[in-house]
């Protein structure tokens, strides 16, 4: 299986790109030359004239600086280092993917397992519940949920967890809550398709309990296709976070995420387009890399293709 995956060059490239980006994000605190909130203001070179009221002329004050060796991607509208902010933004976006993937995997597979092996009424209840969630467009529900969760200043009694503020965790909650019904459905269907297979009939005939059959026989046989589904959650989570942050209900500035960076720099695109192009390009690369990796995984795990 690993060999089949390695033979797909696009999939390997996708995984390598993701590894590099994940490392860059995880090491943002070490790699980034400056604190993401630090401002590099300095006095204008000349006395204020009419010309300095022009946003372009405000470069003199340390804002919108063009790329230099000190600031490889220049500075933004608040004279902060764009390169450092991008690295820290990458960290939050990658963290969104990881946290959401774990939460959705646990919740989705758990509910799917309960629906497939629990009593009939539980199955009906859980599936009608996911029906309603299904009728909602994912992104719309995430926006509404995030708005409904309100403002929080502490999470589990702390101001921040894993270096992420309480507010950002609410975004993770909103995104996870909208992504799990799809996985629960897939899990249920996959597990039910194994119910009539010889090995589960044999296990049941040997006196194994329903839960033992589900956990020891169904689940291991469904791991491969589920893994592919779970991989696809990551880009969706990053996309949802970026959209929420761009709209203004996601991660809140000054904490940078790729979505916050896009929202921050969008208004100044005519002054400094590079600051917008970098997070947009990063998002595109992340989506493509995840797609290639997940496609490779799907092909490698499916011996028929």
């Amino acid at each position: 299986m690993i060999q089949r995956f390695r033979r797909r060059r696009s999939a390997v490239a996708g995984v390598l790109v993701l590894l590099v980006l994940a490392l860059a994000g995880a090491g943002a605190g070490v790699i980034a030359p400056y604190d993401p909130a630090q401002q590099f203001l300095h006095a204008p070179a000349s006395a204020p004239t009419d010309a300095t009221r022009d946003p372009l002329a405000q470069r003199d004050t340390g804002k919108f600086e063009a790329p230099t060796r000190a600031h490889p991607l220049g500075t933004d509208h608040l004279a902060r280092d764009v390169f450092s902010r991008t690295l820290h933004g990458l960290r939050i976006s990658m963290l969104t993917a990881v946290v959401t993937m774990i939460a959705v995997a646990v919740l989705g597979v758990g509910v799917g397992l309960l629906a497939a092996s629990g009593p009939r009424w539980l199955d009906a209840l859980l599936m009608r519940g996911t029906d309603v969630a299904f009728a909602f467009p994912d992104l719309l529900l995430a926006i509404l949920l995030r708005a409904a969760l309100g403002e929080r200043t502490s999470i589990l009694g702390a101001r921040s967890l894993l270096g992420v503020e309480a507010d950002a965790w609410l975004v993770f909650v909103a995104v996870s809550a909208t992504a799990w019904p799809a996985l629960a459905r897939v899990t249920r269907v996959l597990l039910l398709s194994l119910r009539e297979r010889e090995f589960s009939l044999a296990a049941t005939a040997l006196g194994a309990s329903r839960w033992r059959v589900a956990l020891r026989h169904w689940l291991p046989n469904a791991v491969a296709p589920l893994l592919v589904q779970i991989t696809f959650i990551a880009p969706r989570a990053i996309f949802a976070e970026a959209t929420l942050s761009f709209i203004g209900v996601g991660i809140r500035p000054p904490t940078p995420s790729l979505g916050v960076l896009i929202a921050d720099h969008f208004g100044f695109v005519m002054v400094q387009w590079t600051a917008l192009a970098v997070p947009v390009a990063l998002l595109a690369v992340i989506f493509l890399a995840f797609q290639l990796a997940a496609d490779g995984l799907r092909v490698a795990l499916d011996p028929r293709s």
Partner: protein
């Protein structure tokens, strides 16, 4: 067929009712009402109280839901909390023209380009043209409209100067068709790629089938075989994904309208969220959900016509 249609209609209404209840519950779970935040310290307790009474949100929650439901049934969707004197239906109506134009444009682009592209790719399956189409569509299908909109903005508006960064509020004239092109292209790109890939896969399967071999054996030309025999059958799986596709067009339009500064329904929705205008938030959510439910119902009614084997109670 009639019974199937009625069952489908009932399901659609039930789904909408469930969405209405969930949306209402979510919006009433929000800590802090719509008026407390806006006035800040300047709003006197009496003013907030008067506003709450005026909009009826001092009533018990079930009574509020009943009141809202009656507004929904009457079609005005209740009052907007942030725009005095306006109903939610009027707010949606304001943004309907640009939103509809962009959405229909995007849908036409996705179908008009995606399906032919898939047919061409399938006809050259394994060749260089197929590989090129497959490569481009892989990239476009993976990247959401959100990102493509920014890429388009950077290239078209900032570098080449083909159009303004903000397309502006003036959308009632004929220029709207030209103005709507950039957002429509951004919105359509992922769907176009997805349709092309689906059509390609379905066409390859159809072209390898027995009925196509029979048609060829009868001496029919390539065009007739491809379009009349293979494409007709290949379109069925393509039609069934039109529903989910429309959902992505609807949610995608929220952000795309915002990016290009179009005064559509999506822009009104985002403004309502930032202003805590719960009336508009609930109304627009229901409007979007209704659009998707109706479209899905139409698709479900079309499918049995295309393939009589699927017609079931």
């Amino acid at each position: 067929m009639l019974r199937y249609g009625l069952v489908r209609l009932g399901q659609g209404v039930a789904t909408l009712a469930a969405i209405a209840v969930v949306t209402f519950a979510l919006m009433h779970a929000v800590p802090g009402g719509p008026f407390e935040a806006r006035g800040g310290d300047r709003a006197s307790a009496g003013l907030v109280e008067a506003q709450r009474a005026y909009y009826g949100i001092d009533a018990p929650v079930p009574a509020q839901f009943g009141r809202w439901a009656s507004h929904v049934v009457r079609g005005d969707l209740g009052p907007s909390f942030a725009r005095p004197g306006r109903t939610v239906a009027a707010v949606i109506g304001d943004g309907l023209l640009p939103s509809t134009v962009v959405a229909l444009y995007a849908f036409a682009l996705a179908v008009g380009i995606g399906v032919p592209l898939g047919v061409v790719a399938a006809a050259r399956a394994g060749g260089r043209g197929d590989a090129a189409i497959l490569g481009v569509t892989t990239v476009l299908a993976a990247v959401p409209a959100f990102v493509i909109a920014f890429a388009l903005l950077l290239v078209g508006a900032v570098w080449l100067g083909w159009f303004e960064v903000r397309l502006g509020r003036d959308v009632t004239d004929l220029a709207l068709l030209a103005k709507a092109l950039p957002p429509a292209v951004a919105l359509a790109a992922p769907s176009t790629a997805l349709l092309a890939r689906l059509t390609r896969a379905a066409m390859i399967e159809a072209l390898a089938s027995d009925y196509v071999r029979t048609a060829r054996a009868k001496g029919l030309g390539t065009g007739a075989v491809t379009l009349r025999h293979a494409l007709r059958n290949a379109l069925l799986p393509v039609v069934t994904v039109a529903g989910p596709l429309l959902a992505t067009l609807v949610t995608g339009s929220i952000v795309v309208e915002l990016i290009f500064g179009m005064p559509g329904v999506g822009a009104a929705f985002v403004a309502a969220i930032l202003q805590r205008d719960y009336g508009v938030i609930m109304g627009v959510t229901l409007f979007y959900a209704a659009t998707i439910v109706v479209a899905n119902a139409v698709i479900d009614l079309i499918v049995p016509v295309l393939d009589p084997r699927i017609a079931r109670p």
